[in-house]
Amino acid sequence: MSTLLLLIVILINFYVLGSARLVACIRAVALQGALLSLLPLVAHGPSGHALILGVGALLFKGIFIPWLLLRAIREVRIRREVEPYIGFVPTLFLGALVTAGAFVFADFLPLAAEHHAGLYVPAALSTMAGGFLLLMTRRKAITQVLGYLMLENGIFIFAILLSAAIPLMVEAGILLDLLVGVFVMGIVLNQISREFATLNTERLTALKE
């Protein structure tokens, strides 16, 4: 069951990397978050801890943050990512490479024996790498927020491996961190679009010393 979920998560990575339509991307990332919220229950069984974690992840990653992003996108009226730094097909190709790399790499990591089985580690690594790729290759601030979300999803998968050991407070802290991050980005987004009449972050380069 967890393998299936993680495979879908990886496929969603590819979809986001290859798609130019922002609304679709946001929905895909929301779906990814919602799927991930199932993961604690699948991995550790229906305990109170896992339940709180799952519900929290669903609320934040699956509903609240995507709703915020969709609202923001309606206000600044953009629909498509045009002219990324690296085109969609090369990005997809790079994504495939790093995913393959993540699978190979996961075998070499010094992990506990029970964590080697399953897709957790490669999926976590490839989602993080996908998030990084998205952050690096796109110009629109909103896509970068999506990259940040994907990065966070990768970390979440990794954290699930350890959620028996990690206290709840730490996970709550991570979620709060994410939320604050999205808020800040939302504010920055509005400021950029007001100042430059665009959401291209490359205009920010003019701010360097």
């Binding site: 010094p110 790498a129 690096m136 290759t137």
Partner: protein, 657 residues
């Protein structure tokens, strides 16, 4: 020993007295000077007991990890501390007249505070027997030295000199950290120093190289002397005397102390020092001849004298490597004695230069002239210092250079063929001495002889008594060592024994057939008597002479400054001789035709290493780094993210099995 500590503390805090009372009065300064004098007096009893068989040691627990408050006074330390105390005390008195609070309200308090602090730090440094304590005192000394140099921090050239000094001293300290860390590895006591001639390490060569860089930077050995001319020219004269006479010697002390630890000394250590000594000596004095700023000129003479000291130490090291005890004793005695001597006569020269600057108001020799008539006592003291620094009898410079000459001739007795190469030290030393003599003929002749070149020089006045007395005492000290050198032989013998790790007195010792000090002393006295007779005779003969004519004017009654040599033209023949290494900039030239138009000549010699090598090299490096930084830090957010992704990848790769 406890009195010694009290003395050090009193000296260290003496400058705080300047904070009391109003800036417009000199009361605080007098109090500070009195504190320094009391501190120096308190230090003396411990030093007088240095030849006693039991060592004076203080060993306290210290909470710093690896540190130990371990002070020990032995003959080597004493040989450095004795001149230090004299220079500190006399410099403080001199400062009362030279840098009065009333005349320099902006910076006199600062000068006084750091003057006391650097003195105390240097004594602690010379007594410390623990790497941490040593380095701590070293840094306090280095930073206090920076504040002495930048006393007049409103002048841009002073700030530049201070900045160069700061860079130099910190890169030196970095090397010292490395050297002492290596010294501490693989020992039980870690950071406390090993006993003399007991230490061996596979990394001995690296330790020596690092120490040579760090200590050589402070001492001013030739390629590393870059900070020295600017710094000594920028500081007030009595601070320059302290910096040049004493502070740069801590570098020599470090080398002497560090080499004493090693049981085996590779031959290349001695050869390296010998080579550096020859280069520093010859080029130091050649650069000195080319200078026209009296304090820069004296600073280059410090480089030269450090070269001579390095020659002595190099010979002593070679003696250790090739097992030649006579060479060790003579070389080290020459080195240590020259350290003390240079401290005395260089301080004397800096103080009399200060008196000239005080009287005329400039450092350029070309603006002096005829000062002997206006500042007769200053002239006398300067002349004494000049004779001493040129290594002429009957003053002290002669004794130490003579010991080094003796050492270099002793290699002829050794069976080793390679060692006899070091005989070349003797001609190098002779060349250095001759050039130094030429240089001081230039300085003394241009400044004190002839007619005044400027109105300021014509109206120069003699210095006040607080400035004259210290100079007189320095001159007496120089003459004392020059005329009664056998008084110092026991101390030097003991230092040479302790340097080799032997506690009992050596079978060889100075004063016997090894170095007939008594004969030298007798010859010195005869020379003094002869000089006095000649002087008395000349005085008698010249009683009927006319006073309104120039002495060498050949009867011409209206000499003018235009007829005199300038500093540039006097030094030019020698400067041209060394032009392969100096690269002087010469402007103007020879007049031609039967009725030549007005023409002028001047030469200007920038420092070979600082202005021609290090400055361009560092500017190039800065330009390159600027370009690299602009390339890396380009302001594109995506690239920054790429950096973090790469960092993450590298960290993960490092974690994998």
């Amino acid at each position: 020993m406890i009195w010694l500590l009290c003395g050090i503390v009193l000296m260290g805090v003496s400058g705080l007295a300047g904070l009391i009372g109003s800036r417009a009065r000199d009361g605080g300064q007098k109090l500070a000077c009195a504190l320094i004098l009391v501190g120096v007096t308190l230090c003396l009893p411990a030093l007088l007991k240095v030849l006693a068989p039991t060592a004076t040691v203080i060993n306290w627990r210290w909470a710093v990890p690896g540190g130990q408050f371990l002070l020990e006074l032995d003959a080597i330390s004493a040989a450095f501390i004795l001149p230090l105390l004299l220079v500190v005390a006399l410099g403080a008195i001199y400062g009362l007249g030279y840098w009065r609070h009333r005349e320099h309200p902006a910076n006199a308090t600062k000068l006084q505070i750091f003057y006391g602090l650097i003195s105390a730090a240097m004594i602690v440094l010379l007594l410390a027997r623990n790497s941490l304590l040593f380095l701590m005192a070293w840094e306090v000394m280095a930073l206090a030295g920076y504040f002495l140099i930048t006393t007049e921090d409103h002048k841009p050239e002073v700030c530049r000199a201070g900045f160069i000094y700061l860079i130099a001293t910190h890169s030196g300290t970095l090397a010292l950290f490395g050297a002492f860390a290596l010294l501490g590895t693989g020992q039980p006591g870690a950071l406390s120093w090993p006993a003399a001639a007991s230490f061996s390490s596979p990394q001995a060569g690296l330790i020596f190289i690092l120490a040579l860089f760090g200590f050589g930077m402070k001492a001013g050995l030739m390629p590393l002397h870059i900070w020295l001319p600017g710094a000594h020219a920028a500081a007030p004269s009595h601070a320059s005397a302290l910096l040049s006479g004493v502070m740069i010697k801590t570098g020599i002390y470090g080398l002497v102390r560090l080499t004493s630890f090693f049981a085996e000394i590779p031959a290349w250590w001695g050869w390296t020092l010998l080579l550096l000594g020859v280069v520093s000596g010859i080029f130091g004095v050649a650069l000195a001849i080319a200078q026209h700023d009296i304090k820069r000129l004296l600073a280059y003479h410090s480089v030269e004298n450090i070269g001579i000291i390095a020659l002595g130490l190099g010979l002593a090291l070679l003696g250790r490597s090739y097992n030649q005890p006579t060479l060790v004793v003579l070389g080290l005695a020459g080195c240590l004695l020259h350290v003390a001597n240079h401290g005395l006569f260089k301080s004397l020269l800096f103080l009399s230069a200060g008196s000239m600057i005080h009287g005329v108001g400039t450092r350029e020799i070309d603006q002096y002239g005829g000062l002997l008539k206006r500042q007769p006592l200053t002239g006398l003291f300067f002349l004494g210092g000049a004779v001493a620094i040129c290594g002429l009898p009957p003053f002290n410079g002669f004794i130490s250079e003579w010991l080094i000459y003796l050492a270099s001739f002793k290699v002829l007795n050794s069976p080793s063929g390679v060692l006899s190469l070091s005989l070349l030290t003797a001609p190098a030393l002779a060349l250095i001495g001759g050039l130094a003599l030429a240089c001081f003929v230039k300085v003394f002749g241009i400044s004190f002889g002839g007619e005044p070149r400027t109105a300021a020089a014509a109206s120069a006045h003699e210095a006040p008594a607080t400035m004259l007395w210290p100079m007189g005492i320095f001159l007496l000290a120089c003459a004392f060592i020059g005329l009664l050198p056998s008084q110092l032989a026991p101390l030097l013998n003991r230092a040479a024994a302790q340097w080799q790790g032997q506690d009992h007195p050596l079978p060889l010792s100075l004063g016997g057939p090894l170095a007939p000090l008594a004969a030298i002393s007798l010859a010195g006295w005869i020379l003094v008597v002869l000089l006095a007779l000649v002087f008395w005779r000349l005085r008698r003969c010249s009683q009927g002479a006319r006073r309104d004519l120039g002495t060498w004017g050949c009867g011409y009654p209206f000499p003018s400054p235009k007829m005199q040599y300038t500093a540039s033209s006097f030094g030019d023949s020698l400067v041209r001789l060394f032009n392969f290494g100096l690269w002087s900039k010469r402007h103007g030239g020879r007049p031609d035709g039967l009725f030549p138009a007005t023409s002028s000549f001047e030469s200007h010699t920038p420092d070979l290493f600082l202005d021609r090598l290090f400055s361009p090299a560092f500017q190039g490096a800065a330009w390159l780094m600027h370009g690299v930084r602009r390339l890396i830090q380009n302001g594109v957010a995506a690239i920054y993210l790429l950096y973090s992704a790469l960092t993450l990848l590298v960290l993960l790769a490092l974690l994998t099995r």
